[in-house]
């Protein structure tokens, strides 16, 4: 058996009678960059929600580094090293940009129950937080309120916050959506850089990004896996072509 970091078996999510994710298997190898693609509404985000514990499974099992994490709470799964960014940016709007990232670093360090210490004790995390902001081109807005950022910068901030936790498995839900060409280049370079020593699973619509970045891909349509493998092989698969064209015509 290959060295799978993240393994899902038959995971299913029903919303009433509708199966958004229907008996999906996933085998994510250690150290790879894996893309999940598929038309809108295919169930990619829901799949992520199941892997991270955002949503409870209807059925199926998930193993992270060989341990069964099915049914575990989201925060416990995160503490085990599986952390995500969201398709719809999830930030702390009233915090400064710097404090958004610092808040993640604070969790890694512990001591978050300290209510008798000054929050200035967190200031020694600022340098690391700024490094992460630099990586995402956000250093010059570090002191701004996060709510004031543009759409693209909010996405970048969320990625910085996610990376701050130094996760062993990184889940990115459409990290480049809404970004300009220059920012996309930056994020792609960054993902390549941070992927060293960890595993990345990402949803990505931009196929040139997928082609340049990812080792293997899984294609989802109507809640089911319709193809998986290397990009070059999968791109030729008639089922995949049809799913994409079908969606484009719909």
């Amino acid at each position: 058996m290959a060295d799978y970091v993240l393994q899902a078996k038959g995971i299913t999510k029903s919303f009433g009678a509708f199966k958004a994710v229907d008996t999906v298997d996933l085998d994510i190898e250690k150290g790879e960059i894996h893309a999940m693609i598929g038309p809108n509404g295919a169930g990619k985000t829901t799949c992520f929600n199941l892997l991270t514990g955002d949503l409870p499974l209807t059925s199926g099992t998930i193993h992270l580094e060989g341990r069964n994490i099915s049914g575990m709470s989201m925060d416990r799964i995160a503490r085990r090293g599986l952390v995500r960014s969201y398709q719809i940016s999830s930030i702390f709007p009233d915090f400064t940009v710097l404090n958004n990232v610092r808040f993640a670093l604070q969790r890694k360090r512990g001591q978050s129950l300290d209510f008798w210490r000054s929050e200035r004790t967190l200031d020694d995390l600022n340098a690391r937080a700024l490094e992460l902001l630099e990586d995402l081109g956000l250093a010059d807005v570090a002191g701004e309120r996060a709510a004031e950022l543009s759409y693209g910068k909010k996405r970048a901030l969320e990625i910085a916050t996610t990376l701050a936790l130094d996760p062993s498995v990184l889940l990115l839900d459409e990290p480049t959506s809404g970004m300009g060409r220059e920012d996309i280049g930056r994020v792609v370079d960054l993902i390549r850089k941070v992927a060293k020593g960890r595993t990345v699973l990402m949803v990505e619509h931009n196929l040139s990004v997928v082609e340049g970045l990812c080792d293997r891909i899984t294609v989802l349509a109507r809640g089911q896996v319709i193809a998986r493998g290397r990009y070059a092989e999968v791109a030729k698969d008639p089922l995949v072509v049809e799913a994409y064209l079908g969606a484009a015509h719909a």
Binding site: T52, D54, S73, M74, D75, R76, A78, R79, V83, R84, Y86, S90, I91, F92, P93, D94, F95, T96, L98, N99, F103, A104, Q106, R107, Q111, S112, L113, D114, F115, W116, R117, S118, E119, R120, T121, L122, D123, N126, A127, L130, E134, A139, D140, A142, G143, R145, T161, L165
Partner: protein, 331 residues
């Protein structure tokens, strides 16, 4: 701006002040603290000490409430249970078990905390209106128990509570002695609340208020933090209720009724949720209105309603909340 410059800069809050002042206050908050301290010293020469002490107890109660609503984003409608049971147990232990001032107050505080733990364990997984409704329902149950059980003295309440003395040294039957003690406790509570809110723990609470789902997905055990905040808030509310029982030497059903919960909500909203000094401002306004309108009987309720609506419409963030936005500094 260079990276070195950025590292010098330490914005720890959207409205950050760089210099740190004594007792962990920012400059703006330190000024407000000095003003408060001066007011505490001067006020008893102008107004009745007993009335002032009542205001101070409600400030402490509202500080407790604000820790939840203002900093954690949890709306409780059941704080009367902690305040009222804190009052009852302080009063009862002082009157019937011969507990001294400190032991009686500690009993009230522990009662608040224990009840808070029970409420919290039941309600903490719910959010928004469901959370508020569960706390209200539990508080109504506590009220019912108080109404039925003999230890509360029914309609009469627990009367004749001895004030005792501070550490066996200072006689608290003297209103002035008691006043200076309560004034000191008030200032201590404000320092403590500033400390908690602007600590690493407070940072987590504010993050939870901002975006609980993200706090959770970053690995924070959100329910546990909420529960901690809830128990802290309940303990402080129990303490405030106990203090009030000692000052007035009585604990009654009113303390444990929805009237008290409403008071906490009203004071916090009028003063400004999520501000350290909002509870003080709110208590002064709300209790003064009640006090000076008392001769007009039922009009108190009406005027209270008008004030409440006025504040919600004109000062959406409460008085200090509006100042806070205007001066771009956290108060």
């Amino acid at each position: 701006m260079t990276l070195a410059d950025m590292k010098q800069m330490t914005p720890s809050h959207p409205m950050a002040e760089t210099a740190l002042h004594p007792l962990g206050f920012s400059r703006a908050r330190f000024i407000l603290f000095v003003v408060t301290a001066l007011a505490v010293v001067i006020a008893p020469f102008v107004l009745y000490p007993i009335f002032l002490m009542k205001i101070y107890c409600f400030i402490i109660f509202a500080v407790a409430y604000n820790l939840l609503l203002g900093y954690t984003g949890l709306m409780s409608f059941g704080h009367a249970a902690f305040w009222g049971m804190g009052a009852y147990l302080t009063a009862y232990s002082a009157a019937n078990w011969g507990f001294g001032f400190e032991a009686a107050l500690l009993t009230g505080t522990v009662t608040g905390a224990a009840l808070g733990l029970i409420f919290g364990l039941v309600a903490i997984r719910r959010t928004g209106l469901y959370f508020a409704m569960i706390t209200l329902a539990l508080a109504q149950m506590v009220y019912f128990i108080c109404l039925q059980s003999p230890f509360t003295g029914g309609e009469d309440g627990v009367q004749g509570v001895p004030r005792g003395s501070l550490l066996g040294l200072v006689d608290l039957n003297n209103d002035w002695n008691l006043y200076w003690l309560v004034g000191t406790i008030l200032l201590g509570t404000i320092i403590l609340s500033n400390r908690v809110v602007h600590s690493p723990f407070g940072q987590v609470l504010r993050a939870i208020r901002n975006n609980p789902a993200r706090a959770k997905s970053l690995g924070y055990n959100v329910d546990r933090y909420k529960l901690c905040a809830f128990v802290m808030s309940a303990a402080l509310a129990g303490f405030a209720g106990g203090l009030k029982a000692i000052i007035f030497q009585i604990a009654t059903l009113t303390d444990v009724s929805t009237v008290a919960s409403t008071e906490a909500v009203l004071i916090t909203l009028v003063g400004g949720i999520g501000t350290i000094f909002g509870p003080a401002v709110g208590s002064i306004i709300v209790l003064s209105l009640e006090h000076y309108l008392a001769p007009f009987g039922p009009w108190v309720m009406f005027t209270q309603g008008v004030v409440f609506v006025f504040f919600v419409l004109v000062f959406r963030k409460g008085l200090l909340g509006e100042f806070q936005s205007y001066f771009k500094t956290s108060l």
